[in-house]
């Protein structure tokens, strides 16, 4: 019995504990989010059933529940107040006219976002400000490696910084912007985004990563310039 007992190192034990805590927190968060989504979905389905049964006034309730998120999405996609208003109006008119096609297989919000995304494609200025093609390759130029995360927190709260983030997002090609807005700003899951944009989940994840890298590269350049 000469072998030394195998004792886990302190680092391993700490890593495992951290991982367990992270998983437990993530599990709890996901459970809360599922409960909330189910509650929202049930309420939406019940309103849809009422409208289908002839109570059209219930549609106003659906409007008041969802118009803010649709406007927010449209404003981020179009970056023009009039276009955002047009998208909001078109989305709800189309939703009302085609409500019979909503079978309740997807969440109502996913269905509504799909209509809104299609409406954004038709807007006059919907494409926003798109950067030249070369700039839209995350690895197309030299990768800036300035660590701007160590700048004071106050910098990230400034109006100019917020504007820089909005500009960087607006400069993305539309298909990348759509995925980033849905995933990182509206908080939809990759599966939901995949249903809305009609692409596979891996394709959505790949677009999201490219979009994030592009925004990150633009912010890096912006912070580098502001330092000079």
């Amino acid at each position: 019995m000469g072998g030394a007992p195998i004792v886990p190192t302190v680092t391993n034990a700490r890593d495992n504990r951290r991982r367990d805590v992270h998983r437990a927190r993530a599990g709890l968060k996901s459970l809360r989010s599922l409960c909330y989504k189910k509650h929202v979905d049930d309420a939406d389905r019940s309103l849809v059933e009422r409208i289908k049964a002839g109570d059209v006034a219930a549609f106003e309730r659906l409007f008041s529940r969802h118009h803010q998120r649709i406007y927010r999405f449209a404003a981020r996609m179009c970056r023009h107040a009039q276009d955002a208003e047009d998208v909001l109006q078109d989305t709800f008119l189309a939703a009302f006219r085609h409500l019979k096609t909503f079978r309740g297989k997807a969440r109502f919000t996913t269905w509504l976002y799909t209509i809104a995304a299609n409406s954004c494609r038709r807007t006059r200025r919907g494409s926003g400000v798109v950067a030249p093609a070369k700039e839209n390759e995350p690895d197309g130029g030299a990768l800036p490696v300035d660590d701007w995360t160590r700048r004071p927190d106050a910098l990230f709260l400034r109006k100019e910084t917020r504007r820089a983030i909005e500009d960087a997002i607006a400069a993305l090609p539309k298909d990348l912007r759509l995925v980033l807005v849905f995933r990182d700003m509206e908080g939809l899951s990759a599966e939901e985004v995949s249903r809305i944009v009609g692409a596979s989940v891996p394709a959505v994840k790949s677009r999201l990563h490219r979009a994030r890298l592009l925004v990150r590269n633009r912010l890096s350049r912006r912070f580098q310039e502001s330092r000079r």
Binding site: K52, D55, Q68, A84, E85, F96, D147, R162
Partner: protein
């Protein structure tokens, strides 16, 4: 400062960068995750890319909400009401 090896297509650094979002969101299987973690421990440039990418995601998530102006909501609701009054209820 510019990244040296990581800026040309196809280098090992870039191949890892392609999986950074999956790494950040803990979607990678353990061996791949461990490979990236070990690489991060010795590659300062990639550590910066990781940190700035995480911060970018956080900044996007914390972006201030854009609420529709009250007048806009009112206008659209009026249009909807007219449409609701005009149309027959949708039949299931």
């Amino acid at each position: 400062m510019k990244a040296k090896p990581s800026s040309s297509r196809g280098t090992p650094c870039l191949r890892r960068l392609a999986r950074l979002s999956a790494y950040i969101e803990r979607e990678l299987p353990s061996p791949a995750r461990e490979t990236i973690r070990r690489h991060m421990a010795r590659c300062a440039d990639c550590r910066v890319v990781l940190r700035t990418l995480k911060k970018t995601i956080a900044l996007c998530r914390q972006a201030p909400k854009i609420d529709p102006p009250r007048a806009v909501s009112k206008r659209v609701l009026e249009v909807l009401r007219r449409e609701l009054a005009r149309c027959r209820p949708p039949v299931s």
